[in-house]
């Protein structure tokens, strides 16, 4: 990729902005984080982690598109769709150091900024601001999870669909329909029908 250096630079600036939302970081302080971070690149449709493996990394997406799913009997239940700037990892496996129950797979060619479990513990021990940044980031993660849980339970299929389309317009173009349908817990047939709601002038 010829523009790859420029792309990484832009992605790093994005990461700096993202982390500064939790704790303001000077350029220098952000620079201190970089030795802990690895860059990992994947082609499209690659399993970044498979069921049964132990998750070594917490990833922030530099560019690309990734989904996380749970294989259940003969189905795949999509539990996360993540693009640039989002965090994705097999949380339970990463933190408890146990085999992953979920699979993470790229949809597009993807680059991660990754931090390994050991590096993360190191970071918390050595960087003063990391503790607060981590706490606030995790706190935000919890609140988002709780909101999603609540919406899934209380909203109708139509409401869930419309809210997702409104808040993630670009995902509708990039993600195969069946994955979005699974993520929203909507039958593929129903999802197709609801797509008509998106046409201009229709509500």
């Amino acid at each position: 990729m010829s523009d790859s250096i420029a792309s990484y630079k832009a992605a790093l600036e994005g990461l700096h902005r993202y982390l500064s939302r939790y704790v303001p970081l000077s350029k220098q302080e952000f620079g201190q984080l970089l030795p802990y971070i690895e860059i990992r690149e994947f082609d499209k449709k690659v399993k970044v982690i498979d069921k049964g493996e132990i998750e070594r990394y917490l990833n922030v997406i530099a560019w690309g598109l990734v989904r996380k799913y749970l294989p259940v009997r003969n189905r795949e239940i999509t539990v996360q769709l993540a693009s640039e700037g989002h965090i994705i990892h097999s949380e339970l496996s990463f933190h408890y150091r146990t085999p992953s129950g979920s699979v993470i797979e790229t949809i597009e060619p993807t680059a991660f900024f990754s931090i390994s479990y050991d590096s993360l513990q190191d970071l918390y021990d050595h960087l003063t601001k990391a503790e607060r940044m981590g706490r606030l980031l995790i706190s935000d993660l919890y609140v988002k999870k709780d909101n999603r849980y609540f919406d899934q339970l209380l909203q109708s299929t139509r409401e869930r669909f419309l809210q997702y389309v409104r808040t993630h317009p670009q995902m509708m173009q990039r993600v195969p329909q069946k994955y979005i349908a699974s993520y929203l817990n909507i039958k593929p047939e129903t999802f197709s029908r609801l797509k008509h709601l998106m046409r201009p002038g229709r509500r």
Partner: protein, 196 residues
């Protein structure tokens, strides 16, 4: 009364006596009768609570049906956590099921403790992560296990709660019809769980 909290905290961060006293100095002991409400939707959660004695449930209404989302017993934390962390109004009710004693910290006091002690801030980070992981684990079990498996798993993990929690709440917590719950309970009596 603080000893159980000390043990609980120790599993995450071994605080020094001085650090723990600092934490303890901000704690309020709150006593509740049974069936008392701690918070309801629309209110902002002020407290993070540790259960010393008693039993508490978190729930909300889906239409007219109550959905129980948390059952907290001795040595569990209980709070409308999302509201506590975000400062936004709670979506949930919290109510005692038995006479209950809580050790409570306000959000403001906790923030102050974080500013004073990086070790207490670490404790905060690890406990918040624990909340995330518990939710994640619950989600996964919910998707992966069928009704019977969920029931068996719950009983194995929480042997004491079967006697203490009204059956309709347990059924709601496990997202099954009360009839299904009764049927599974009979199964349990006839055949010990190890045989599954």
């Amino acid at each position: 009364m603080l000893e159980p909290l000390r043990q609980y905290v120790n599993d995450y961060v071994a605080l020094t006596d001085k650090e723990f006293s600092l934490l303890a100095s901000k704690i309020t002991v709150r006593n509740f009768d049974k069936h008392q409400r701690l918070i309801q939707p629309g209110e902002v959660e002020r407290y993070m609570n540790f259960v010393v004695r008693g039993l508490v449930r978190t729930y909300f209404y889906k239409g007219r049906a109550e959905v129980v989302t948390v059952l907290a017993k001795e040595r569990d934390l209980i709070s409308a956590s999302a509201s506590f962390l975000s400062g936004e109004p709670s979506n949930y009710f919290i109510e005692t099921l038995e006479p209950t004693t809580l050790l409570s910290l306000t959000r403001d006091d906790l923030e102050e403790l974080y500013r004073t002690s990086s070790r207490i801030e670490r404790l905060g980070r690890l406990l918040t992560m624990q909340f995330v992981l518990i939710k994640e684990e619950w989600d996964h079990e919910y998707m992966r296990l069928d009704t019977r498996e969920r029931f068996v798993r719950f009983v194995e993990k929480n042997p004491g709660l079967m006697q203490r929690v009204p059956q309709k709440y347990l059924a709601s917590y496990l997202n099954m019809k009360p009839e299904t719950f009764s049927r599974l309970k009979h199964l349990l009596k006839k055949r010990p769980l190890q045989g599954r």
